[in-house]
Symmetry: D2
Subunit: 336 residues, 4 copies
Amino acid sequence: MLIVMHHSAPADQIEAVRRAVEQMGLRAEPIPGSERTAIGVLGNQGYVDDTSIRHLPGIREIIHVSKPYKMVSRDFHPASTVVEVGGVSVGEGHPPVIIAGPCSIESEEQMVEAALLVKGAGAQILRGGAFKPRTGPHSFQGLGKEGLKYLRRAGDEAGMPVITEVMRIGQLDDVCRHADILQIGARNMQNFDLLKEAGKTGHPVLLKRGMSATLEEFLAAAEYILAEGNSRVILCERGVRTFERATRNTLDLSVVPLIKEMSHLPIIVDPSHATGKRSLVPVMAKAALVAGTHGLMIEVHPAPEKALCDGAQSLAGPGFRALMDEMRSLMSYLGY
Amino acid sequence: MLIVMHHSAPADQIEAVRRAVEQMGLRAEPIPGSERTAIGVLGNQGYVDDTSIRHLPGIREIIHVSKPYKMVSRDFHPASTVVEVGGVSVGEGHPPVIIAGPCSIESEEQMVEAALLVKGAGAQILRGGAFKPRTGPHSFQGLGKEGLKYLRRAGDEAGMPVITEVMRIGQLDDVCRHADILQIGARNMQNFDLLKEAGKTGHPVLLKRGMSATLEEFLAAAEYILAEGNSRVILCERGVRTFERATRNTLDLSVVPLIKEMSHLPIIVDPSHATGKRSLVPVMAKAALVAGTHGLMIEVHPAPEKALCDGAQSLAGPGFRALMDEMRSLMSYLGY
Amino acid sequence: MLIVMHHSAPADQIEAVRRAVEQMGLRAEPIPGSERTAIGVLGNQGYVDDTSIRHLPGIREIIHVSKPYKMVSRDFHPASTVVEVGGVSVGEGHPPVIIAGPCSIESEEQMVEAALLVKGAGAQILRGGAFKPRTGPHSFQGLGKEGLKYLRRAGDEAGMPVITEVMRIGQLDDVCRHADILQIGARNMQNFDLLKEAGKTGHPVLLKRGMSATLEEFLAAAEYILAEGNSRVILCERGVRTFERATRNTLDLSVVPLIKEMSHLPIIVDPSHATGKRSLVPVMAKAALVAGTHGLMIEVHPAPEKALCDGAQSLAGPGFRALMDEMRSLMSYLGY
Amino acid sequence: MLIVMHHSAPADQIEAVRRAVEQMGLRAEPIPGSERTAIGVLGNQGYVDDTSIRHLPGIREIIHVSKPYKMVSRDFHPASTVVEVGGVSVGEGHPPVIIAGPCSIESEEQMVEAALLVKGAGAQILRGGAFKPRTGPHSFQGLGKEGLKYLRRAGDEAGMPVITEVMRIGQLDDVCRHADILQIGARNMQNFDLLKEAGKTGHPVLLKRGMSATLEEFLAAAEYILAEGNSRVILCERGVRTFERATRNTLDLSVVPLIKEMSHLPIIVDPSHATGKRSLVPVMAKAALVAGTHGLMIEVHPAPEKALCDGAQSLAGPGFRALMDEMRSLMSYLGY
């Protein structure tokens, strides 16, 4: 931590800050500059809570060097984490994993059809939402528990592990019983209690980046899960909110290589929610592969024109099969 | 709803869209333009779910005229809602209400001291956090249930209603027992299950705007609470996330008059979280009064230098008393 | 400047950075921490260009403590600057100045009518655009030089100094001849050549904040003008671009008190461009006064329904007169 | 254009709007809905300036269907534009073009060395900045005219066309004399006078997307150049400004396929400015190729540790050669 004093801060203010730091059990090293003094803080183990000093007169700025996470950081865990689930390995050193299926579970028939479709095309994990976060209460909210059963049966039928979103702690038991991976959505990325309880289940968790979450916040959210002893966490970039409205969100592909530098956790990409446009999904999926993603989550619906949710960004069977062919070729080119 | 076709869309695509709209039980009125055709959709009651048509070939854009909320809208409920709680009225036609207290509850003594301080200065409602949403798991997470009791006792001691944040459904019972108003924080603005359950309690709810929530999403989130039969909702602007880092968030004061046009619900402002800087709180609090806010939520700590959370944006006793004096004068000028 | 090394950076990398810093003629002070080493850089006069070291292996982050501006900073010029123009004083210690007039100059009659209208209502400076920056080339681009003459005559008629936007260096002579204040618009805030040449004229300059400019960039842009020996600069907040679309921009009123802390230059507010909605202008204008603005720039048109530009955010005569009455009262309450 | 009336707008307000539209020479078609009336506007050629109606009572919202550009739109010019310069073709149907060189021109030796380096590695166009836009006036501002000559000689030596940024109209003559392509930077994307004058030169123009420009604004800016009769325009995505600070900007790769749908102009990508980090440049460059970019602009410096500008994002010779090898292989895989 570095404490930057105001240009005009007199010696006694600098001294008061120095003493306050030492009362926290840390060392303070004043660094006099030509324009102002800065005070280096030493001896801390990780992030320092600065609340007991921020108020002191003469301080212009406090700069944190340590981050609010540690267990997710590659600094402290250099080896890449690979999450194994139902015979599928997600992470460095393994071919990118394709998670596919409809946005929402609509019926058993639809799910079985979708499962056979995506499995047939080469996807490894089946997705489908039973609990749907919708902006307004008057939209379709998902089939709930009943949907979980359809998802499970469809996964079993096709021989695929399944993933589904969990929106509240009370759903964790049911979702853990029926799904192989818990998904925590962008709107819940900082629902810290849900993160903690998801951590306690020991189940694999796919954590989506919040709509306007910084990388630091994203990794700190994952830290909540790891802090409960569960390191089976897969990160997922799904676009961030910007001023641009031509796409649903702005897909931030550069976080893929960046997260691989900063963290040992696998990182995958969801081009469907990021772009919101079917025509952009295939090209961005392939760009993500080249960016080094450990997997892709793609919305596929046997009949997008009848989808109850997000039909405009869902691929139908032929489009998805064509994309899978292209991706297989690209992966093979990339050496997977 | 207006469906805009591509410049080059042939007649059969336009006709297919028309038919699809009519299969939804709505009327479709093609509006041929010199450059392209648009199709007006008529006969809908409120927001139309467009998923069954968005996929159709030839569509360039679908423009929604209706909004994903209705019960919170002034269009359908012209009279302003006033939320009454513990003898305090929040809303149009009443003097702005001051909610004050520390960011987090640290001990019974601290809370009683804070309560007497803010009550003495003229605040009407006591705030204090027992459950604290923190970016990383290694920061102080609040005293939990024990804190709720301290808050209640402090409120009773000072004769003030109290408000505290609820972070998960499982806390609702305890929080409803001890607090007069439930607060739902920015990070949980789209925790839709929490909104629904908070709605069912019938308890007054203060809903903070999400970090990057549009007004439309903010009002749609409130709609979740009203849809459960609970219209005792107070909205709270607390700054939005932008590229600017000189302040913690960017306080968006223009939403105050705008929400008053669009909705009948009361809207208050939190200048402490918005700015993150003690020196900016008083001036922005007064600007908010002039902008027409129905109340202010201000962080006050008997000893900010010892605060476990957000000390840098908390006012101490003398600063808060001075601000209250200035605000009383300003309110009197404004005719309250 | 603080150079933060990677957790795993070996001693020879740290040593190489130390040596590189000293080759820049500065001192390097390693600060070993428990997790990583940081290196304090001392002896610099202002902002350090870090390009010759950023590439060195082992560096995780470089943190700048000094800012890319100095002459605009209150640290180095504690006394507030007051810009005098045509008998009007803009800055600390003077009543807020009202600049009013139409978005664009449309005819001599319109300008004279507007000038008499705003003068009669109590405004001190007349605005009007002869050169209009428009998103697309097919919109009205302003009357150009001819417009400047109408503006001047209108100002003379009403006995008011006038301000108008300059968009290119080649217009500076004409604009200086006819206008008392040069306005540099948001889109040109980082048109550095225009800033330099405007600085050389010695004419007062009103500099608008760029659409997504940080405070640091805003102040550094002003520094370009001051660096040419011209300190007659007035800063203007006009809203920043965010994800929100309910208003044209998001008015960032908290920069008013913040700029007053950081800089000695006067800061005014443009609520018309910030909100884009006539109904929001009066309330935000008054909020800006309470926030401490040194002035307001307000769009007024004798007949907004016939305005060639921005009619939706322009006040007509009656609305402007009512607002002026309210502002006079508020200023008197505020002690001006 | 669609005019949406307020829920409560009475018939006479609707009628007044209808009449106002017809006075503009357009047709108005009221579309009565169950909740409110909308009025379709027909008969317009392109974007309608709504200023003469926006003010009318009862209007809630005006929705534009036409865009503020037309000549850049694929709707009106379906065939892709290919920009030919010095024997190099940039655009659809041609292999992606690599533009490389240092951020700033520092000496003739440096430029010749850089030119031979990038040419040897396979780049087709040489870049180098003589006029440098810098946030503050105290940073290196470029060598100016002298630099242009070095750039030209280096290009001639290596047999490559050259590109350089032009910051003001007064530089156009010199830049056109020495450079094959004019670059207009992000900060000047809405410097409309510069766009017009650049258009008049007939020289090829590379236009960078503004820091927070929407696609609509980006294309409308290009329209200024085309409107002067110059369609030799290359668009360049270089990252947009968001809340994220882990990268310099957020590279918005999805605009590549999107611009290819919306416009006939070539679109290239600058991963160096977008990410600001050397380690991310190669992976994002390759992702851009897969996203369908028509070219890449990459900063390369013979000795980045001595660069006067942006050394941290510049590749050195070995890194650039390795990247070129990888890109050649990827292009061959992609069928170029």
